[in-house]
Amino acid sequence: MGKKRIISVVAALTAGALGMSACAAPEVQSNLNEETTLVAMYNEYMYSMNSLTSYGNNMTNVNLVYLTRDNFVYYDEDLNLQANPSYGTYEKVSDNPLKVKLTYADTAKWSDGTPVDAADAVLAWGSQSGVFNNVPSEQLADMYNDDYTMKETADGQVYFDTQIYGIDWITEFPEVSADLKSVTFTYSKPFADWEAYMLYFGMGLPAHIVGKRALGVEDATAAKAAVIAAFQNKDNSALSKIANSYNSDWNFTSTPSDPDLLVGSGAFVITEIKAKEYATMKPNEKYEGDHKAPVDVFTLRYNEDPMAHVQALENKEVQIIYPMPTADVLSAVQKLSDVEVFTDPEGTFEHVDLTFDNGGPFDPATYGGDAAKALKVRQAFLKTIPRQTIVDSIIEPLNPDATVRNSYNIVPGAPMYDSAVASNGMAEQYGEVDIEAAKSLLAEAGVKTATVRVLYSATNPRRQQEFKLIKESAEKAGFEIIDGGDEGWGGALGGGTYDASIYGWASTTTGITETASYYVEGGMNNYSGYKNSTIEQLEDQIGTSLDPAEWESLNNQIEKLLVDDAYGLTLYQFPGLTAYDTSAVSGVNPIALSPTFLWNFWQWEIL
């Protein structure tokens, strides 16, 4: 081939190509989603859509439930309980016996079009009251899987893995109206917080899906009827199946294969869950209530690393973050522009609990039932806890006004707090670290070294530091402290594998009876194995009193007893840290209670 020919060929090709460029290239179609989107980041990944079981009871699950299931009531920014008539109404029919009538609105619908009605209320009551459980408590431990989910029970054995204080006072099957639009519950004794506890009725599962999955009834109406019948007739065979479905079916970490499990009644429906990474939601097309979704796609991303939250916010990958607050994270997030930061204290408070029933150093059984000896060891340990140092070094950088919380039951700043502090004695006895007193208490008890296993979240840097400080101080008094940091600490609670635990209680309601379940024997949150019959009587009195005036003196008595028993210590109110991108969204305004920043999602405005 001659050089010229080659050159001419190349030239021709080039000319041709250039000529072709004159004819327009095809339009680029990208098929990108055009909807408005909003991404929030949370620090724990979801693992259950039934947030009422002891397995699924976690803030991260409560959040998703809040977004996807509508409710009778919600808390506003001043923590006042607000009604939501677009879902349903409730009224007190009589004081004695306490009777409450729930009426569902016509606009209350599940996302598959089935109306929300009395069947769902019956299921909520049946599963939360514990009235139908027939598994003896000593067999309970054998009923859990290693991942702390429930095993399938044998036919006829019924166990719902939920017990809500107060709802278990409704022992009689309710009056259900024929059209299922309303239902009337009768409490066996007056219940102080009945109104706040309306929350739990909306958080329940869709009865028709439970009926379909557990009893195999395809038709929604028939399934509802079957569920109601099972509870009404105490049909243990059917209830056993319902309980199994209730305990296990809604536990998943990625999109379940059965879309029925994602049926909800709230503003959003879940479209996709990617295990440990994110959950995306779209507006529920069937939703006719007042709390409308503000955005076409809402995504909750999950990441434990607080710095990753800040970097993702800075990089606009997410618009709202809720990282575990540390001083570093706060100052990093304050440096960002176009970001509003909230650091108000939250409903959660940190506390140290001691275990009374595990044969450890704080259990009277260890000393042959010598309660006085065990009490002294407990007091000695509590006296070494450097509460002020913990607050000063860990919390103050986050919230300059932070103080040690000195009441078990009352939030600092609440009307009853000062009176509780003045009378319970926590501040006097455990206000300052007293190593000498601890040593002499141990000597009095005749205990040379007590080995204390401390459980805390191994992935939570703040608790690591708390542990370090407590360890350093307690070892001075002669305690041997074993590092029980555990990534799965939540599931380990109540397992008896530790003698002391550091974690937080997140209040979900403002109810005065809320804390009863920590101290009452068999209470759902009594992980300490604590027993005191006087306290149980007092709690009973508070719980059945419909008169708020009586609450203060009763509560002071309870707290005094707890301090005298060296039950444990409260440390501080959690400083919150929520930050959002003001250029992307407005109206975010976190409250102290769960679901914190999500409470007013319908008021958000996407910019």
Binding site: A327, D328, A332, I394, P397, Q465, K468
Partner: protein
């Protein structure tokens, strides 16, 4: 590539001067002296060695070795101190670097958020890293050289086994095997119900134990190299003559072959040690290496990575020292390789060439005169 054509060295022009210089350099020197000389001339290696010795000496003298206390005022890296100036480093730059004058202060590298002294922690971490590095190197050296030498010298089934075992070890990433080992070490105590004091002893001597354990998985490449070296050396004449002279196997291995393989061994062990520094920090970062109450550089970075944007000193100092140590060891290894390898030649500078040529010419002319 045309450029390469023009600028490539012209071997023909160089060879005479080149050889002359080399010949002159090694005149009357033993092999060991030649190697040492080459090593001492390697600027990178020498600066690496100097810096490494300085860092090691500094860290050990600051925090003490064994029973001897160091000069630093805070000897316990886990102790907390009152917070000064938000934990900022008190180290200040000297005036000629634009600082307010050089001061050391109470906490030159700053404090973490509960008041631990970062200087004490970083120095303790440096000590840990060096300890792991040396222990690991020694373990791998002893095991690798012994097995490699035996396999290469005796061959047969031993050799076969060795080759299969090395196959095994290079199949899995070191970090994976290391994680399993680290987990194994930290679990053994409770798992086998060992007495509490044994468990505690393990906990406090974790760096030592981890070094040995990692050495036990990192020896195969070394053994493989030594074996290869032995395979060729055992066929050489001097080995035959030793054997004919009635030397025992042990004597032949130790006195005749090993000295000839020492270059490969030293170079390899240095490279292994540089790998060890990074490996230890990575394992500690993942939580399978060294943990509280021991302090390691990886561990420090892992706990402080959240502080990166706000208290960068907690992040930069440990990182800096990891890099410094690994870099120095790498340079030393490079220098050793160059020094031991007869094939790598230092290309002499133009000035040296001219000088050599002159000397050569002078020698020739002198010879003519004589």
């Amino acid at each position: 590539m045309t450029a390469a054509q023009n600028s490539s060295p012209r071997p023909d022009d160089l060879s005479r001067g080149d050889n002359a210089i080399e010949a002159k350099e090694v005149e009357g020197l033993s092999q060991g002296q030649i190697v040492l000389r080459r090593f001492l001339r390697h600027k990178g290696a020498m600066s690496g060695l100097a810096v490494l010795l300085f860092v090691a000496g500094f860290a050990c003298s600051a925090m003490g070795i064994g029973p001897i206390p160091g000069w630093w005022r805070f000897q316990d890296p886990n102790a907390t101190h009152p917070m000064q100036n938000n934990g900022q480093p008190t180290l200040t730059l000297p005036e000629w670097l634009g600082g307010p004058g050089f001061t050391w202060g109470d906490h030159p590298f700053g404090q973490d958020n509960i008041g631990c002294d970062n200087f004490a922690q970083v120095m303790a971490g440096v000590k840990t890293s060096l300890l792991v590095m040396v222990v690991l190197g020694c373990t791998a050296l002893i095991v690798g050289v012994t097995i490699g030498a035996l396999a290469g010298y005796f061959r047969g089934w031993l050799d076969l086994c060795l080759m299969r075992v090395t196959d095994l070890f290079i199949v899995l990433p070191v970090i994976v095997v290391g994680s399993v080992l680290g987990k194994l070490l930290s679990q053994m105590g409770t798992k086998f119900d060992w007495p509490q004091d044994v468990v505690t002893a393990i906990k406090y001597n974790m760096p030592l134990i981890l070094g040995i354990a990692l050495g036990l998985i990192l020896w195969p490449p070394m053994a493989r190299l030594v074996r290869g070296e032995f395979l060729t050396l055992r066929e050489r004449e001097f080995v035959d003559s030793a054997r004919v002279a009635g030397a025992s196997h042990l004597r032949i291995i130790a006195k005749h072959i090993l000295p000839n393989a020492v270059g490969v061994i030293i170079v390899n062990i240095t490279l292994l040690m540089s790998e060890a520094v990074v490996l230890e920090t990575a394992l500690s970062f993942l939580g399978f290496g060294i943990s509280y109450p021991n302090v390691s550089l990886g561990n420090l970075i892992s706990t402080n990575q959240g502080a990166f944007a706000t208290r960068p000193w907690l992040f930069w100092w440990p990182g800096l020292f990891i890099i410094l140590i690994a870099l120095c060891v790498n340079f030393i290894g490079d220098g050793l390789r160059d020094a031991f390898d007869p094939r790598t030649k230092r290309i002499p500078s133009v000035r040296e060439m001219k000088k050599a040529k002159k000397a050569e010419i002078a020698a020739i002319s002198q010879g003519e005169v004589a």
